[in-house]
Symmetry: none
Subunit: 182 residues, 2 copies
């Protein structure tokens, strides 16, 4: 298990602690803290281990340091970021501005996104999920009307290759910027 998958809803206790789902913890492989940034697009926080942070910084370093783009990105990526300790039970304490940004109160939806995961307020998560599913439905429909190779009206799966070909496969599995595999 080497990427964040699936979603779980966990409770926040009186002290503000939440358990990171066990399968996410195994991906984090015992790191004692996680890095969190706030999404600019949605009321959601995005988190991952050290490699997640590094990937973000690497993206930043590819920009012109005097551009406005750089200014804004670095502001959000660094200024609005957090490094949160994971306690001995695998829990984290949410910061105030994380709660404010996400609307999280007493429950958190942990949503795996590959090389990072998201923290949603559960109701918002469900809304967004519905919207995402609808969008995918529409996108696929318009795709198949183009005569997209083999794609018949199935799931994304309908396109999958026979099991072989795994050699090059893992190369770009991860999104955008990724560095560690395994």
């Amino acid at each position: 298990m080497d990427r964040f998958l699936s979603n779980t809803i966990n409770r926040v206790d009186k002290k503000g602690r939440v358990s990171i789902p066990a399968n996410f913890r195994t991906v984090l492989a015992g790191q004692s803290s996680i890095h969190i940034i706030l999404s600019v697009d949605h009321p959601v926080a995005e988190a991952g281990g050290a490699d997640f942070m590094e990937a973000n910084l690497r993206r930043l370093s590819a920009m012109d340091p005097f551009s406005e783009e750089y200014e804004m990105w670095s502001f959000c990526l660094l200024g609005d970021a957090d490094e949160i300790k994971v306690d001995t039970e695998g829990r984290i304490i949410l910061t105030d501005h994380l709660r404010a940004h996400t609307g999280i109160e007493d429950e958190v939806a942990f949503v795996g996104r590959g090389h990072f995961f998201q923290l949603w307020e559960p109701k918002r998560f469900n809304l967004y999920r519905e919207a995402a599913r609808e969008k995918v439905r529409l996108m696929r429909r318009s795709l198949s009307s183009l005569g997209d190779s083999t794609s018949q009206s199935n799931s994304p799966a309908s396109q999958a290759q026979p099991a072989s070909s795994r050699a090059g496969a893992s190369a770009n599995l991860q999104m955008g910027n990724k560095e560690q595999d395994t």
Copy 2:
């Protein structure tokens, strides 16, 4: 045997476990977990081994990582997916959101689809199957009216189903995209 074929209905026990059909297990070749995604069109889950997951992700990696398209697909393919452990007896435990999406309660229809297989709630599976047959019948009819006027139903599959009477059936092709979840 390297493809998932045919279909089987197995029971879910009190603890929520259900056996993966033995012939499917041989295709999985001893992998200790399976990957599952939820169909966006139907109340069905689609599952396979590691190669199934990789094939899906490969599809993702062809997209622009900053596009909305990518965002939506990856959300569904990763955030709404599951990696489920297979126990020593070859059983899995269905997650809550999988049950919510499929409507599965105490029985599961495993349906082979080649390089992956589906999990259906048996009644819905039957309805869908009816609807699918009807569609095929209609499509064939309109096709054959283009030229081959004589071709009448003699497919090996044409069984004793009174073709009509299932008027409502095709409507059900879409059923369930309004699943009520938690």
